[in-house]
Symmetry: C2
Subunit: 273 residues, 2 copies
């Protein structure tokens, strides 16, 4: 049972408020109830939010925690002046000192994208997602010179989620190729990849974990058999070592950790920073 | 040209630091250079980070902005005491008052996932990504009762990126189905979807924008022709209206805004809050 409610209030989606609030809350041994209140962009909605927070405060007999990323000052003021929660104003706290250091006023602008159809950054991101889907699991060799990163590894080593994450969150075009028995026999990378070696990054995984994952997909198959997984992983790692490809083990890593390490190693040119 | 550098320093991936820092910086009319320094989890690495920041401060003649999400206090202290940047300690600023309100100490724990292979939340998320890929673009009718959300709409209305976003970021199983001429002739939703009507959400788009997007994919085709796009969109909207399906127009919305609205409307049971 939860004993405390946390609200995330934003004029936009509330995703920043919730991402950051969750990172803060992960530092405490509590399991609060989460309520995200997005698109709070009018004074009416601000009053509604206040009523919800105050109702919760009465029910629970404890101050709700209220994370806000509000840029509309009249909305923020209504919540500050009326809500019985503990208010953590994530924007104001940092924007005011930054105005001092930068010597300019902040814009009070909601969200990253005003109209996405006019944003080059946004259309590039959608294009990156489409590219990564079209080049998932070795489906296509077309336009590999347009790829920012090429992932290789045995089936179920984590290539697909990592590719989609890099496309979705970083706007990178990521192709991924499974390393298969034919490659191991030839003892060479798939030939189509050779010209793009600088962009290749390998994923590997402990055979025991791989066998577990594959067994969920195809129980009792040779594909999932531990001896077979050991063989494939050993061959794949030997090939990556021979080819001088950078690689990491995904066994205990989250998609975010894998993606961050790849960005550090490959440093794609397209990334703006 | 950038005139100022912003550093994001974290013991983990630095994604929280950068997401939040970017939201703050979007409030200012500046284009700073971004440097993410992830995995700063030892005193040695802290000293290296300080050297980089101070070097930049000298080169640019301005204080770099330094956002930190550090939970290791000895690492944070080294940066606080030695760096010549403007330090914005995103964790400490909020964690200390929260310790007071909650009456407990914080854990100083790095990252959300210690060992992802042991985390149910994490394996559910990977399963959601696989489900959403297998059910992309009407590929499969299998196990639709296991879906959390079913998206429908004409081709290129934004179904695929939205499905993948909801899977990746919210751990939701999302199927998506194109509405095609056969459906319009029958004047009914695809029959396989009927039993799951409560989970269905529709995406639509302005015909002019749709034609533009389709023309990038297949220039000059009937598929991309404006008259055809107008016809498809009108039919799809009429069908959604007849079927009593909730829907929104994606024309000017980001994936995050679309996803947030869907979550508000469909309220999937699996979502923990």
């Amino acid at each position: 049972m939860h004993t405390r409610t946390v609200f995330f209030i934003s004029d936009g989606t509330g995703i920043t408020a919730e991402t950051f609030g969750n990172a803060i809350l992960a530092q405490f041994d509590i399991k609060p109830r989460h309520v995200r209140l997005p698109f709070i962009d009018t004074e009416d909605k601000a009053h509604q939010a206040v009523r919800r927070i105050n109702h919760t405060a009465e029910l629970e007999g404890k101050k709700p925690i209220v994370f806000t990323t509000l840029v509309n000052m009249s909305v923020l003021r209504i919540i500050q002046e009326n809500c019985q929660g503990m208010l953590l104003d994530m924007f104001g706290t940092f924007i005011r000192p930054l105005e001092g250091e930068l010597g300019i006023k902040s814009l009070h602008r909601v969200g990253r994208f005003a109209d996405v159809s006019l944003s080059k950054e946004y259309t590039d991101r959608i294009e990156a997602i489409n590219f990564s889907l079209d080049h998932d699991d070795g489906q296509s060799h077309r336009d590999l010179s347009g790829a920012d990163v090429i992932l290789v590894g045995v089936s179920r080593s984590g290539k697909t989620p990592t590719s989609l994450y890099l496309a979705m969150q970083c706007g990178l075009k990521v192709a991924n190729y499974p390393l298969i028995p034919e490659d191991f026999e030839r003892k060479q990378l798939p030939p189509a990849l050779e010209p793009h070696r600088k962009k290749i990054f390998g994923l590997t995984i402990l055979p025991e974990r791989l066998s577990q994952i594959r067994n969920e997909r195809r129980p009792g198959s040779k594909y999932a058999d531990l001896a077979n997984c050991r063989h494939e992983v050993a061959e794949a790692e030997a090939m990556m070592r021979r080819s001088g490809i950078r690689w990491l083990s995904t066994t205990t890593k989250s998609i975010e950790e894998i993606a961050t390490t790849i960005l550090q190693e490959v440093r794609p040119e397209r990334l703006v920073y």
